[in-house]
């Protein structure tokens, strides 16, 4: 079954680069991530040798760009009719969902790698804690994985890529916002504490913050790995349900 997973991974990764999608995505990411850090995060004004201005704004970039990468995963297969070809292949659907996810995650990792000039810059200008920076990147790639998996699950609900993108962005936005005071205030002060804590616990931003400050904690790792596993399972179940034909 690993051969089937590898076949899907290879096809998906190649297909990103056979169309302008991957190039546009990588270019946009490579330009906007530093732009946020320089102009919004005031990279040079902080007088600190770290990548905090980059990591502070990265989640908001991922909220938009990860659904753009994931939107085609199943919606395009459904629209073009190639889902029929995939479903007739003797491979379990988990191999297809994981293959698609890993290919998109590879492109996301390549995009994060393109921020390396900023890492070189802070090392040239000062003596940053490179272990903390590496932890920040680990958090960013896990968060990207979580949003990609959610995006893939939502892509399985429709044959329209634009709808998949809008749903993916909305879901990623809600996941990011969940722990912010504005959302918790909206839930209401009268709400039981465990409800507020539960909503805050769903927040990707809360779990990302640990990594942002150079701390790797087991609950944060479990959150992102769990989010990826749960969303990919949903994607697999949604596609498998199509064999029922609306039964």
């Amino acid at each position: 079954m690993m051969k089937a997973l590898h076949a899907v991974y290879r096809r998906e990764l190649t297909s990103y680069f056979q169309t302008p999608l991957a190039y546009v995505f990588l270019a946009v990411f490579a330009l906007t991530a530093p732009a946020f850090a320089f102009h919004v995060g005031r990279f040079f004004d902080t007088n600190r040798a770290d990548l905090a201005p980059l990591f502070d704004y990265l989640p908001w970039l991922l909220v938009v760009l990860m659904p753009a990468l994931a939107m085609r995963s199943w919606a395009e297969e459904r629209d073009r009719g190639t889902l029929e070809f995939v479903m007739a292949l003797p491979m379990p659907l988990w191999a297809a969902t994981c293959g698609k996810f890993l290919a998109a995650w590879t492109v996301a990792a390549a995009a994060l790698l393109l921020t390396f000039p900023m890492w070189i810059a802070v090392n040239y200008l000062g003596s940053p804690d490179n272990a903390a920076i590496a932890t920040g990147y680990l958090g960013a790639i896990l968060m990207a994985g979580g949003y990609l998996a959610v995006g893939q699950a939502l892509s399985a609900t429709t044959s329209n890529q634009v709808i998949a993108f809008v749903l993916g962005t909305a879901a990623s936005f809600l996941l990011t916002m969940a722990g912010l005071p504005i959302v918790l205030a909206a839930v209401g002060e009268e709400a039981p504490v465990f409800v507020s804590e539960f909503i805050a616990g769903l927040s990707a931003l809360e779990h990302y913050n640990g990594f942002r400050f150079g701390v790797i904690s087991l609950p944060d790792l479990v959150y992102f790995v769990g989010l990826i596993a749960a969303a990919l399972s949903c994607a697999g179940l949604l596609i498998a349900d199509r064999r029922g034909g609306g039964r």
Partner: protein, 242 residues
């Protein structure tokens, strides 16, 4: 080799297939005939493991298409309706993808790709993006992917739709060439294809099986001894009833 046993499939309140049963052995080429919406593609999708029947069972080489789906699909080549294929891929890479997903690798992979492309007569088009090819070549690319792993059972949903007369002849020759070693089902609207290629014919309409026999017997159900007339008379009667 292939068994459809009392297959039933319903979409909402619409009964697409109502109790279709037949068997197919190695060496047989079965023409699956019926008007649009008769239940041909739904039956084929159930046999290919893409759709689960509400009732009844489908088996390929003894393997249940639902409970032993992977084993059944490993022995099956399927050309879906409309011959879908990835537009940005070349026929060569498309065939390679299907084979890799089936576990092919190394020299066996290369041999299987070359043979499939040659049998589907893709020629110089094998290395051009599928999206830039004519309808006929697109269909041949999908056909190459369906036959590449040398399956025991082939299910081809309208394999000659949209092809020019020479291309149709090429596909019919390919089916005849493969027929002795395989059990093959082809669905078609081109009734002249039935006596030319098929050793057996099934007529289906309104989700029900109306005829199962040789093309000769089908033609002899009418005075005109014509497959076309027999098909029209059978299916019109069902359409009028519904």
């Amino acid at each position: 080799m292939l068994v459809a046993d009392s297959l039933v499939k319903q979409f909402g309140s619409f009964k697409a297939v109502e109790g279709v049963s037949f068997t197919l052995e190695r060496g047989e080429v079965l023409g699956f005939l019926g008007p649009n919406g008769a239940g041909k593609s739904t039956t084929m999708r159930m046999l290919a493991g893409c759709l689960e029947p509400d009732q009844g069972t489908a088996r390929i080489a003894g393997y249940d298409c639902v409970h032993d789906r992977l084993e059944a699909q490993a022995r099956l080549g399927y050309l879906p309706e409309g011959a879908p294929a990835y537009q940005a891929m070349t026929p060569r890479s498309f065939v390679a993808f299907g084979l890799r997903a089936r576990g092919f690798g190394g020299s066996a992979l290369k041999r299987a790709i070359d043979l499939a492309l040659e049998r589907a007569r893709l020629g110089d088009m094998a290395d051009r993006p599928i999206g830039t090819l004519s309808k006929g070549y697109k269909r041949r690319a999908a056909l190459a992917a369906a036959i590449a792993h040398d399956p025991a059972v082939l299910i081809l949903d309208e394999p000659t739709d949209g092809l020019d007369p020479n291309q149709k002849d090429g596909v019919r020759n390919l089916i005849r060439e493969m027929a002795p070693e395989k059990a093959i089902i082809i669905s078609t609207h081109i009734l002249e294809e039935v006596p030319a290629v098929c050793s057996r014919a099934i007529v289906i309409a309104g989700g029900r099986l109306l005829f199962d026999g040789t093309p000769h017997d089908l033609a002899h159900t009418t005075e005109s001894r014509s497959v076309e007339t027999a098909f029209r008379e059978m299916t019109r009667a069902v359409e009028h009833r519904s």
